[in-house]
Assembly symmetry: none
Homo-oligomer: 219 residues x 2
DNA sequence: ATTACTAATCATCGAGTAA
DNA sequence: TTTACTCGATGATTAGTAA
């Protein structure tokens, strides 16, 4: 069994529910022929990593708990490996700048706020502190965070609007409890950092535009 | 390239530094022949996932940043997949064991007690119920909690002693209101769980060492 | 459009062995 | 002990095609 086959199916949605996956679609994802994908699916079924339902024109697939188990094991392995490899504390310095108010908008959306509350343990002040990263080093750390797992906030739909997934990193701005927020599909470049906190950071730390702040993040 | 080969090398220490790995040792880890392991190492080197140094009797291997990158990518994939798959209620089973009395010590410290009172809504009985996790599943849930946010209790200084930050998860031990307490920098391993409650759990539920209890936690 | 069989081709494996 | 070669055997892949 190749773990990548299972991952491919999982990311197509088979982890959570019966999902229509034709053998040629899996073939595309794996970069193989339709025949190979078909055989791999049969193999995974035989080894009970997936269950499926073959219909007249197509099939529906879902990972079994045994399949999920495999993914979890590998995930945990990688967790350990990467944890040891990464430094556990980063310090990012940046300049306080004014945002466009979108932060304030997003921090009022219930779908986000509820998740922040349960996953970070605090209700964010409805607004974000925007930091501009001036040095290459700081931008590099930001880019590293982008790649790391962090605390995942799931995307959701509200009305006809879709709110994308973001991730967070617990941080401290001069001892003040806070979190860095990074959208999965980031719009602005790698030189901005958005920070949330239970309090209004600007007031709590008496900050104004142009001030340099130090953000400590532990991963 | 098979990701499992790279993972095997990484968990043997090659992620962080040049590490002596003979082809037969890798063969053991992969469950293959020495020849196959040797060829796989050469392949990984050719594709620049690792660098190595072949000595008269042995070799030293280290993952390149390209190699680490691959692990990180897979890790992140799995992160997303498993995140969506995680349930919001966990049930942890474990065996009641005697602690060393530290729980009782910490539960008398005002700096902690006040925070428990305000953040959990109850004053903890001055003592903890210690649970030993017997199965891999239970330990995995514990490890998951470690990563999640929970209710944060801040660290503080008192005199010349520093008390580290901990986090809590509201829980129930057989319907009894309680909370799991997990120190940020945990001293003991992942097979112990400390539980606090407004009442003395042992008496309220008539428990003794060796009894199995079920802890339900919602995140 | 599907899934999946067959048969030919291609890649991988490991015993034996050299250096 | 090592690493790593050759080469026959075994497995995996895919084109062609049936259903």
């Amino acid at each position: 069994m190749n773990i990548l086959d299972l991952i491919a199916l999982a990311r197509m949605g088979c982890a959570s529910k019966m999902t229509e996956i034709s053998s040629s679609r899996l073939a595309d994802a794996l970069g193989s022929s339709q025949q190979t994908a078909s055989r791999k699916i049969r193999d995974l079924e035989r080894e009970e990593y997936i269950v499926r339902e073959v219909l007249p024109r197509g099939q529906r697939i879902k990972l079994t708990s045994r399949g999920i188990e495999v993914l979890r094991t590998v995930h945990q392995e990688l967790d350990k490996i990467l944890q040891e490899h990464e430094p556990c504390t980063y310090i990012i310095n940046g300049e306080v700048v004014s945002g466009l108010g979108e932060g304030s908008y997003y921090m009022k959306i219930k779908g986000y706020v509820d998740q922040f509350k349960s996953k970070l343990g605090f209700e964010p002040f409805p607004g974000t502190l925007n930091i501009k990263l001036k040095t290459e080093d700081d931008r590099r750390i930001r880019q590293t965070l982008q790649k790391l797992g962090g605390i995942r906030i799931q995307g959701f739909k509200q009305g006809d609007r879709t709110f994308g997934p973001v991730k967070c990193f617990r941080a401290r701005v001069d001892e003040l409890e806070a979190a860095i927020v990074i959208p999965d599909r980031t719009h602005h470049g790698f030189d901005k950092l958005e920070i949330i906190s239970p309090k209004k950071i600007r007031e709590a730390l008496n900050l104004k535009d142009g001030d340099i702040v130090s953000v400590k993040v532990e991963v």
